[in-house]
């Protein structure tokens, strides 16, 4: 039997159109994989097997009847469990919401259903999306399919693990400081954070409404594009294609300074290989710096802590014991902020955003590692970087969060493996208003870089 659960959307849509497989067959394989891998990976909080099979049968009937179908028709997809699906729990990975059942679909969920996607379940995550490892979930931590002794990244860790392990073909995650790109990077899949505002965040449990982004985790750039277009309300036709931008003569900015300091050697080497591959294909890669990059952390922290504290204040008072202790403490920190510092951070955000925009002028994309390290061991509090140790959260976030402040689209692509066999991610950042252009460039990069598997 073919392993359809390991295929891309791009391959499956063709195979379904040619009658080589069906949505029911692919969905059954994904559900079997979930059952087999859940004890090892804990990638799901809720599995909607019966509803998924019903949707798959309906998708096959519609196709057999000759209905016009979209690219996602009949494709098994999972949702990070902070996105509402009517009639299904939305726990946000927390016991605080263990009894909350969504009454309506989030707009992104409704768009997936309208496109014929088969929703197989809700993925585990770092509690309330407030962490980078997915170790701290009210439903137990997520493990990395590449090495279950390692973090799956976070906060969309269950989504990345599911896509990597063949439990769903793609997943919908959210990204407030890197929570799509980080798990994609450490699990060896593609993670795309769209431009802020591109995808509606209604019906999605927030961390910080002004930094949150909804987007896909997938197995290829084309798949990420197909899902993104659907989430944006532009469901692609069954045969829609993303066209790669020729790399010959294309200019890239390789982020230097803050982005190149304190990067582990195994990550630095794989990113250098990727850059060399782009240059061999004719791309022009030149160093570029962001003058205020070192201020990203203090700016980001004020905004995310303040916004999260506002959302959680009532339940921190009424149900503190229902939070995991690390997440509760970080949320409590936000209750001590001063308005004057939050205001300073809002100004700093715009300074940083404009610096990123300026660095992109005349360039197809900015390049840097997605993370400065590979997947840390489960439960690690610090990771070795260069000559010293760095807190895991800081290390995992610091190369992705600038582009949440800046609102630019950014995608993490697998760019090879460390000597220990752990995936390394390359991040490409595009201009605001240039989502399609970024993904066309990313597709070209994907074709010349080493596969991560």
């Amino acid at each position: 039997m073919s392993a359809w659960h390991d295929e891309t959307i791009d391959a499956l849509r063709g195979a379904m159109a040619r009658g080589e497989t069906t949505s029911v067959r692919v969905t059954e394989q994904c559900l079997a994989r979930i059952e087999a891998e859940q004890p090892r990976l804990n990638a799901f909080i809720t599995v909607t097997a019966d509803a998924a099979l019903a949707a798959a049968h309906a998708a096959d009937r519609a196709r057999a009847a000759g209905a016009a179908v979209s690219a996602l028709h009949g494709i098994p997809i999972s949702l990070k469990d902070l996105i509402d699906q009517a009639g299904v729990h939305t726990t946000a990975g927390s016991q605080v919401r263990r009894d909350v059942v969504a009454t309506t679909d989030a707009p992104v969920t409704a768009r997936l259903k309208a496109a014929g996607a088969v929703l197989v379940g809700k993925n585990n995550l770092h509690e309330f999306a407030f962490g980078t490892t997915s170790d701290d979930s009210g439903f137990g931590g997520v493990r990395n399919p590449v090495d279950p002794g390692r973090s799956a990244g976070g906060s969309s860790g269950g989504s990345a693990a599911a896509v990597r392990a063949g439990l769903s073909i793609a997943s919908i995650g959210t990204d407030t400081g890197g929570s799509i790109r980080i798990p994609a990077g450490v699990c060896g899949v593609v993670g795309f954070k769209p431009e802020w505002g591109d995808i509606p965040g209604d019906g999605v449990v927030p961390l910080s409404r002004q930094l949150d982004h909804v987007g896909p985790l997938a197995r290829s750039v084309t798949d990420a594009w197909l899902v993104h277009e659907t989430l944006a309300g532009r469901a692609p036709a069954a045969n829609a294609q993303l066209h790669a931008t020729p790399l010959q003569g294309l200019r890239f900015g390789l982020l230097d300074g803050y982005f190149a300091q304190r990067v582990a050697a195994d990550v630095r080497d794989r990113v250098a290989d990727a850059v060399a591959a782009l240059e061999r294909a004719g791309a022009i890669v030149e160093p570029v710096t962001l003058p205020h990059a070192a201020d990203v952390g203090p700016v980001y922290l004020q905004i995310v802590l303040g916004d999260a504290a506002a959302y959680h204040a009532a339940t921190l008072e009424s149900r503190p014991g229902d939070y995991t202790p690390p997440v509760r403490l970080r949320l409590e920190m936000g209750r001590y902020l001063l308005g004057e510092d939050y205001a300073r951070a809002l100004v700093g955000r715009e300074v940083i955003a404009r610096e990123i925009d300026a660095a992109l002028a005349g360039r197809a994309a900015l390049l840097c590692p997605t993370l400065p390290v590979t997947a840390p061991p489960v439960g690690a509090l610090t990771v070795p970087v260069g000559d010293g140790e760095e807190p895991v959260r800081n290390a995992m976030l610091r190369l992705t969060q600038p582009f949440n402040l800046g609102r630019q689209p950014a995608v993490s692509l697998p760019c090879g493996l460390s000597p220990a066999g752990l995936p390394v991610g390359l991040q490409l950042v595009g201009a605001r208003g240039g989502t399609q252009a970024l993904l066309q460039v990313a597709l070209a990069c994907e074709r010349v870089m080493a596969p991560a598997r």
Binding site: H292, P298, P325, E332, M333, R344, G434, A437
Partner: protein, 64 residues
Amino acid sequence: MTVDRWLTAALADAERRGLPELKPLLQGLASSITALRAADWNERADDAGASEPAAPVPPPQEPR
């Protein structure tokens, strides 16, 4: 409020609320606030040219 005074008050409140494990996080946050307040985009009421916005960055150009 100075960062030192803020931190003293925050640590005392964390102790009063029975959250001593919050103290190292608040000390880290104090360092972050100090860095934020030192950033060169911050304005002061007694600055010359105080009506100028604090964003010395050229406007972005259209990417090729």
